[in-house]
C-alpha cells in the first residue's frame, strides 16, 4: 500500500530538497500520511526548508544506531499533523549508515505512512546508494541545462541498473520566455534526451526563494510553482492531471517583466 519515493538528481542545486519539501507537503495536503526523510547526512537542510530546524533533538543516525526510538526522532510538521520529518545528522557523514540499515528503517516506516519521501544527496556515492536502497520509485529532478541533464541521464542509468521499478522526471526551473527565444531547452527537448516519463514541469518562480527562506513550502499556493508542485502530487497519487500550460503563465510573467523593462 505505502510507497517509498526517492527524490534524486545527480547534480546539486537543481531543486531536490525544494521538490521533496513541496511534494511531501502537497501529498499531506491531499490527505495522505507522509514522512520526509533527509538522507543527506552531514549536509542536512530539508529541516531548514521545512522550517523545523529548531525542533530537532534526534536524527536518522540516532535511530539507526539505536540511540532513540523512531517516534522520538520524527518531527511533526507545523501545519499538517499527518506530515512528519526525519532529519539527518549534521555531525556525521554518509558512511554512518549502510543501505541495509536504510532499507530496514524505511520498512519500519511503511507500516505507519502512505508515502515515504527520501531526499537524496547530490552525487552517486554512498549517500545516493543509501537513499535508493529502500525506494520503490524515483523522482529525478533536472533543470533544462546540459550539465544537469547529463547528470540526470547518469542517475537514470544507475536507477535502472538497481532495478528501480518506476522512474519519473521533473523538469525544474523552466523559463518559457527563454524557451521561446530559443535560449533554453524546452520540456520536450529534455524528455527526448532522457526518454523517461515526465511527471511534471515546474516554472522558475521567485516565490520559491521566499518560501525557502521562510521555511514554508509553497505547494498549493497561487504561485505558478505552487500549482505545478500540487499537480505533481496529484499525479503521484494516481490522479490524471494534464501538464500545466506554462506558456500562458510564462507569457504573462514575461509580459509583466517586459512591462517593467520598458519603464526603466
Amino acid at each position: 500500500m505505502s510507497e517509498v519515493i526517492v527524490v534524486t538528481s545527480g547534480k546539486g542545486g537543481v531543486g531536490k530538497t525544494t521538490t521533496s519539501a513541496n511534494v511531501g507537503t502537497g501529498l499531506a495536503m491531499l490527505g495522505s500520511k507522509v514522512v520526509l526523510i533527509d538522507t543527506d547526512i552531514g549536509l542536512r537542510n530539508l529541516d531548514v526548508v521545512m522550517g523545523l530546524e529548531n525542533r530537532i533533538v534526534y536524527n536518522l543516525v540516532d535511530v539507526v544506531e539505536g540511540n532513540c526510538r523512531m517516534k522520538q526522532a520524527l518531527i511533526k510538521d507545523k501545519r499538517y499533523p499527518n506530515l512528519s520529518l526525519l532529519p539527518s545528522a549534521q555531525t556525521r557523514d554518509k558512511t554512518a549508515v549502510t543501505p541495509e540499515q536504510m532499507q530496514k528503517l524505511v520498512d519500519e516506516l511503511r507500516e505507519e505512512f502512505d508515502y515515504i519521501l527520501l531526499d537524496c544527496p547530490a552525487g552517486i556515492e554512498q549517500g545516493f546508494k543509501n537513499a535508493i536502497a529502500g525506494a520503490d520509485r524515483a523522482l529525478v529532478v533536472t533543470t533544462p541545462e546540459v550539465s544537469a541533464i547529463r547528470d540526470a541521464d547518469r542517475i537514470i542509468g544507475l536507477l535502472e541498473a538497481n532495478e528501480m521499478k518506476k522512474v519519473d522526471l521533473i523538469v525544474n526551473r523552466i523559463r518559457m520566455d527563454m524557451v521561446k527565444r530559443g535560449d533554453m531547452m524546452s520540456i520536450d527537448d529534455v524528455v527526448d534526451i532522457l526518454a523517461v516519463h515526465i511527471i511534471g514541469a515546474v516554472p522558475d518562480d521567485e516565490n520559491i526563494v521566499v518560501s525557502t527562506n521562510q521555511g514554508e513550502p509553497l505547494v498549493g499556493s497561487a504561485s505558478p510553482a505552487g500549482q505545478a508542485f500540487l499537480n505533481i502530487c496529484k499525479r503521484i497519487t494516481g490522479e490524471d492531471v494534464p501538464l500545466m500550460d506554462l506558456n500562458t503563465g510564462g507569457g504573462f510573467w514575461s509580459r509583466v517583466a517586459s512591462l517593467f523593462k520598458r519603464k526603466s
Partner: protein, 258 residues
C-alpha cells in the same frame, strides 16, 4: 666532577636521576648538594617528583624527600613511579592540586587522584578540546573560533567560546556556557543534569537551549527578516522552564551556581 645525583625538570615536575652503584648514604649527600644548588631555580614550586636510576625502598624514598624539603622550598605534590606515562601523571597531579587550592575547602577535601581517570572525557571531540587547553580538570575551558554547522564542542567543565555558534553547531558543557559572540545554534549547559547551569551570549538567537534536562527552542518564523540585536542575555532554568533575560545587575545577583 662526577655527580651521583642529577635533577631534570619538565613542565610538571622533576626527575631525580641517581647513580645505581653508589651507596645510598652518598646518594643522600649528593642529593642535598644538588637540591641546594637548584633551590633558587625552583623556588617554592609545587611539583611531582620521580626517582630514576635505582630501586628505592619506601624508607629510602622518605629519606630522599626529607633531603629535598631540607635543602629547597619545593613542595612535593606526589611521587611518581618511573613509567612511560610519567609526564601525563605529573600533569594530572599538579593540576589536581592547583584546582583544589583554588576551590572552596568543601571541594578540596574530596581530592582523590584516582578519580581523575573516571572523569576523563569519553569522546574524540573532547580530546581535541583537551589538547588545546590542556586542562580537563579546570573549572572552565576556552575555545577560540567560530563553530560552524555540524561542529560540536564538548567540555567536562564550563566553556567560554570566543566566537559565534552558527546554526547547526552545538556546544555542550557539564558546567556553564558563555558565548562571547552570537549564539545562533544549539547550547547545552549542565549536560550532566545540572539545572543550575546557565547560558550567556552577547547575541542570543539560539535554535535550541538545553540546561540540564530542560529544553527550549526558539519561536518559529523569526528568520523572516534580519533579527534585531538582543544584547547580552542569559538563559537559566526556573520552575522547569528556560528563561532568557537581558543581563542586568539584579539578574547577576540572583544567579546561584555550584
Amino acid at each position: 666532577m662526577n655527580q651521583l645525583v642529577s635533577i631534570k625538570g619538565n613542565r610538571y615536575g622533576i626527575a631525580v636521576r641517581m647513580d645505581a652503584s653508589a651507596p645510598f648514604e652518598k646518594i643522600l649527600e649528593d642529593a642535598g648538594r644538588a637540591f641546594s644548588e637548584a633551590a633558587d631555580f625552583f623556588r617554592d614550586a609545587r611539583m611531582a617528583v620521580s626517582f630514576q636510576g635505582r630501586e628505592l625502598t619506601p624508607d629510602q624514598e622518605g629519606q630522599l624527600l626529607d633531603v629535598i624539603s631540607a635543602h629547597s622550598r619545593i613542595q612535593v605534590v606526589c611521587v611518581v613511579d618511573e613509567d612511560k606515562a610519567r609526564e601525563n601523571l605529573y600533569q594530572k597531579a599538579v593540576e589536581q592540586y592547583a584546582r583544589s587550592a583554588t576551590t572552596p575547602p568543601r571541594v578540596a577535601e574530596q581530592e582523590p587522584l584516582e578519580q581523575e581517570e573516571d572523569s576523563l572525557p569519553g569522546n574524540e571531540e573532547l580530546y581535541r578540546m583537551d589538547e588545546q587547553s590542556a586542562s580537563a580538570a579546570n573549572p572552565g575551558q576556552f575555545y577560540k573560533g567560530t563553530l560552524r554547522s555540524g561542529q560540536v564542542v564538548e567540555s567536562d567543565s564550563s566553556i567560554i567560546v570566543l566566537g559565534d555558534i552558527n546554526p547547526g553547531a552545538t556546544v555542550i558543557a557539564k558546567g556553564n556556557v558563555v558565548v562571547l559572540g552570537s549564539l545562533k545554534g544549539n547550547a547545552h549547559a549542565g549536560s550532566n543534569g545540572n539545572t543550575t547551569a546557565f547560558v550567556v551570549a552577547l547575541e542570543m538567537q539560539p535554535m535550541q537551549i538545553r540546561i540540564g534536562d530542560v529544553m527550549g527552542r526558539c519561536a518559529d518564523g523569526v528568520s523572516k527578516r534580519g533579527t534585531k540585536p538582543t544584547g547580552p542575555q542569559i538563559a537559566f532554568v526556573e520552575n522547569e522552564n528556560i528563561y532568557v533575560e537581558s543581563i542586568s545587575r539584579d539578574i547577576m545577583n540572583e544567579i546561584n551556581f555550584q
